[in-house]
Amino acid sequence: MLLEVNHISKEYRSGVIRTRTVHAVQDVCFKMNEGEIFGLIGGSGCGKTTITKMILGLLKPSEGSILFEGRDLTKLRKKEWKEVRRDIQVVFQHPQMTFNPRGTIRFACTEPASNYGLVKTREERNRLAEELMEQVGLTGDQLKKYPHEISGGQAQRLSIIRALSLNPKLLICDEPTSMLDVSVQAQILSLLKSKHREQGLAMLFISHDLEVVQSFCSRVAVMNEGRIVESGTVKDVFSNPQHAYTKKLLRSYMHY
């Protein structure tokens, strides 16, 4: 078992006298195997991104535990986190906003590797940068540019390739294609697919694009209002939905 999410909840409290509690995520459980592509679908604001942030350690769950290769991520110390982070990488929704606006592409794409001491000298960094650019089909002179000067598709390919430069075991894709147009989406998906095949990379694929999920994932969980309402293999869930919300979701997709 690569990742086990056990009964995690996240709530936000506001107000001092009259406390209001918002349950962003409630009692969510799912498991992922090595090398599996697991889909997480659901409407906007249903808590998908909160889950990814908790797995990445950017948010602390109010309750529950997250086991990654048997280690409980909610109880890790700071130093231990640094090791684990190498194995769990993420691709965010807004490609251009993933990069430091004040840093060049060269700086951005070699940053993870240099953080973990994989490249030390300037020459090694430059070589790595050129290698990565080649892998995603960009030219070397784009290394001098700033994030806002390249296109969304290019930026997203770069953010994938820079996450993969650490050789992670799990890649969390938080709506990686939702901001891109259809032709670019296909490029991104084929890049992910090929990396999945080559490296046996497991992916937690979060999306509200059902078509992509259907063609891409092996198992899927459907979320609504902070809970997982239904999960199973893609075939089962898509051909024979049980929960009312899943039916509604699928119906809207069919009409579309």
Binding site: K53, L56, L58, K82, R85, R86, I88, Q89, V90, F92, Q93, H94, M97, T98, F99, N100, P101, R102, G103, E111, P112, N115, Y116, S159, R162, A163, L166
Partner: protein, 285 residues
């Protein structure tokens, strides 16, 4: 040729201010650097038979009550006054930015304490507080710098903290954490470069008022001490002879006014240039 035309296209209403500001501060800088070569007389040499000479061909700005040449003293004074002002701004900007960034980045209890301290310091008028501190520390140029820095850093801390809190929730900061950046790396590579442009604008806007603060404190006898030709000290010396030797206060006063104006114009211009909304307004004019 095209570059020249572009330069003149830039010269519209708002950029005139920037260019004038740069010209004035540039001239000031040249005067500071080449001060010993520009002075016609020794700025501290007294000759009592030459005292109170009004502006004439030998002494362009006249002489003071000890027969010292005022033009030479104003030129020499630029070194004292301007270097003090620049030192104050640099030290307080560095200190304030550092404290503000750390405070905003880590938040929590320390942030609360620091920000209450900032609130207290901001409640007093700058000059009053600086006056109190420099009385406490005693006279002298070094103490003057410390005193003004003690008050001035809070302005930068405020700005830096606000920016840090805004940045903290940016997606690229979370992305940076996910790729294993340490807190120190985040502060140095992400927060600092994103804050520095705002701080630079503040610095260029503040130098003008710092020049005034330094001069006021020196005028009150808390900064540079008499033989040293500081502008504030010169005005202070001249105030007793205002009726029959107004040039003694007029010229150092003008020097303060022009340099403060120059820095302020440059600061305004830079702010307009760097603020994206302003930039569009400048270009469409």
């Amino acid at each position: 040729m095209r570059q020249i035309r572009n330069f003149f296209n830039m010269l519209n209403r708002k950029n005139v201010i920037l260019i004038l500001g740069i010209l004035i501060t540039g001239c000031m800088l040249l005067i500071v650097i080449f001060a010993p070569h520009l002075e016609m007389y020794d700025p501290t040499k007294m000759s009592l038979e030459d005292k109170f000479i009004p502006p004439c061909r030998e002494h362009w700005f006249g002489t003071d009550h000890m027969g010292r040449d005022i033009l030479s003293r104003v030129i020499e004074g630029s070194r004292v006054s301007l270097t003090t002002a620049v030192a104050v701004v640099l030290v307080s900007a560095a200190l304030g930015t550092g404290i503000g960034l750390v405070s905003g980045f880590f938040g929590g209890f320390m942030d609360m304490i620091l920000m209450r301290l900032v609130d207290v310091l901001l409640a007093f008028p700058t000059i009053v507080f600086a006056l109190a501190i420099s009385t406490l520390l005693g006279t002298g140029q070094g103490n003057l710098i410390i005193a003004i820095c003690c008050v001035q850093w809070v302005r930068y801390a405020r700005i830096a903290r606000g920016e840090a809190i805004l940045l903290k929730n940016a997606e690229y900061i979370e992305a940076a954490k996910a790729i294993g950046c340490s807190n120190l790396q985040l502060l140095a590579k992400y927060f600092f470069p994103n804050v520095i442009s705002k701080i630079l604008i503040m610095v260029s806007l503040d130098i003008g008022s710092i020049i005034l603060y330094c001069a006021s404190l020196s005028f009150l006898g808390l900064g540079a001490q008499p033989p040293s030709p500081d502008w504030g000290v010169m005005i202070s010396d001249g105030k007793n002879y205002m009726q029959y030797a107004p040039w003694m206060t007029l010229f150092p006063g003008l020097a303060i006014a022009v340099s403060a104006l120059g820095f302020n114009m440059m600061g305004d211009g830079i702010r307009d240039l760097l603020d994206p909304r302003m930039r569009e307004a400048v270009q469409s004019e």
